[in-house]
Symmetry: C2
Subunit: 321 residues, 2 copies
């Protein structure tokens, strides 16, 4: 492919992928769900957010699909998947991860949790549609994520569908995102050590970011990918933690208008953060170190086409909102 010989500029790739994801979400999040539920679901998902997780899925899928032997003419087990099916699997996985992320924001913003009224510069779902509808919209978005991963009569191999469900379910559940949020709730006003804070964030935001990378990496059936997948998992772990460190930094350095949500909220709620624990300069140094680790893992993967994963790591560190 010419794109491999002459790498596509990141901005062009990002823009094209975001358009694909946006269109797919418009198609797959149902407008016609009953009694206003579809409207609340679409409000929660469409036209908002950086779509970092879908981009990670798509970039990781591209990286493994570029590995030698990943094409459909491979005659080695496990089940070969035609390139079109691999591409469809990656797009479905990208959207599924975003649905889980979106549902977690809807529930997290509710009065019994963070009680946030502003998200991405718009009223939060419960402010707009009421708490009951917000609760249901979140629940339905989680179910929809797994529905997207298991299309009937599809060329996506069943083994790939099952793997994607497994990775997403683990990342979303008690040992992942939901568990991290429970620790977060319990830790308000509690002094945490750096390892405890890290353990919380590994679950709360890290698990789903890491799953995004792993799910992308599951969208190819080439043989001999185990080492590359392990390296991508290291990349995902470093990037996931870096994301949270930067989030904590932005909570004190950015303003609400730029963030699109209420800044200074964590400090006001007396939540432990990297900045409260390490101070701002050390937090910035940690973010930079994690970014280096992410790049190093990509070097170690041996995959030929990791430039978009590389750019995404830089994006996480350099973002201003």
């Amino acid at each position: 492919m010419s794109a491999a010989a002459c790498p596509e500029p990141f901005a062009a790739w990002q823009s094209a992928q975001l358009a694909r994801v946006e269109q797919a979400l418009h198609t797959w999040v149902p407008a016609d769900a009953p009694a206003g539920l579809g409207e609340a679901m679409r409000y929660a998902v469409l036209d908002g957010g950086k779509r970092l997780r879908p981009l990670l899925v798509l970039a990781a899928a591209e990286a493994v699909q570029s590995a030698p032997g990943s094409a459909s003419d491979s005659d080695t087990p496990p089940t070969p998947a035609p390139p079109a099916a691999q591409a469809e699997a990656a797009l479905r996985a990208a959207c599924a991860v975003e649905l889980i992320h979106a549902y977690s924001l809807v529930h997290d913003d509710m009065p019994c949790m963070d009680n946030d009224v502003l998200r991405r510069g718009k009223p939060t779902v419960h402010v707009r549609f009421g708490q009951a509808q917000a609760l249901l919209a979140g629940d339905a978005l989680q179910a929809l994520a797994f529905e997207l991963l298991t299309p009937e009569d599809s060329a996506i191999p069943a083994a790939m569908q099952a793997s994607l469900c497994r990775l997403l379910a683990r990342a979303a559940g008690a040992d992942g995102m939901a568990g991290g949020q429970a620790i977060d709730l319990a830790s308000v006003g509690q002094p945490l050590t750096e390892p405890e804070l890290r353990a919380m964030h590994r679950r709360k935001t890290g698990a789903l970011l890491q799953a995004s990378v792993s799910m992308g990496a599951a969208c190819a059936a080439a043989p001999g990918l185990a080492a590359a997948r392990a390296a991508l998992a290291d990349y995902g772990a470093a990037l996931g933690l870096a994301f949270q460190v930067v989030d904590d930094i932005l909570d004190v350095t950015a303003d609400s208008a730029l963030l699109g949500k209420t800044a200074g909220k964590d400090a006001a709620a007396d939540k432990p953060t990297y900045v409260s624990l390490l101070g701002l300069p050390a937090s910035q140094a940690l973010a930079a170190e994690l970014c280096r680790q992410a790049h190093h893992a990509l070097d170690a993967s041996g995959l030929p086409r990791v430039q978009h994963l590389r750019a995404l790591a830089d994006l996480v560190i350099q973002r201003e909102k």
Copy 2:
């Protein structure tokens, strides 16, 4: 099998299956999820409820696994599964459906929804653990359901895992349970016609009951099961609606102590019910007619071992709580 020649009494079968389900849930719902989340999840799931949905899964699995050609020595596609893997799939599906049911009760009881303080004779999850933990426990239970269906390195064929996820996700989401609850919310104080009420209940409770039957029926890979599965789907549809009609009847005829929840609640909330729409005698006649339809569908299935599904239909009609 001797059991087929001399049918096992239902009570003995039911008791044995309930013990299996209870033990499996004790094993699979994590005690060690962080910050009290595991405790809330286990409180929501263990030692409570009639386990109707798991019993439907297991009885339907038994019915299709009794079909000629369902054993592992079948050499016809789709992927044959050894009997032990089929049995494990059915047990996992039984627990997964119960987790979805349990999470829906946790969220449904919350103050922003039905605001119920009593469930199965115990304080509801949010009363016991707080609203935030109840919200998270429900979310984590939904994720766990899909995790249970996709065990790694399992003899359960990937195609079976993916089918089970697909059936459960559809039944739980906007076109199923969550959508039905949205209609329910929107319909308080609204006059509904009988078809509208039926459409609501088909989603709200019917979808998950029907999915229980379909998921059980997906736990065998015998050839030529399409007609039998369609008949079981008819059985599930009739039983699902019958369950709700009986629920509406019990809301006016039973007392809170026996129900283990607040009786008369629907009438007090001015929710449309079969009883408010048709009156008590016609509702009772409708329940009986739906039970007959369920039995007829079992006759039409041609499956040799449907006696436990038959008994479960009778149980739904005759229950007193």
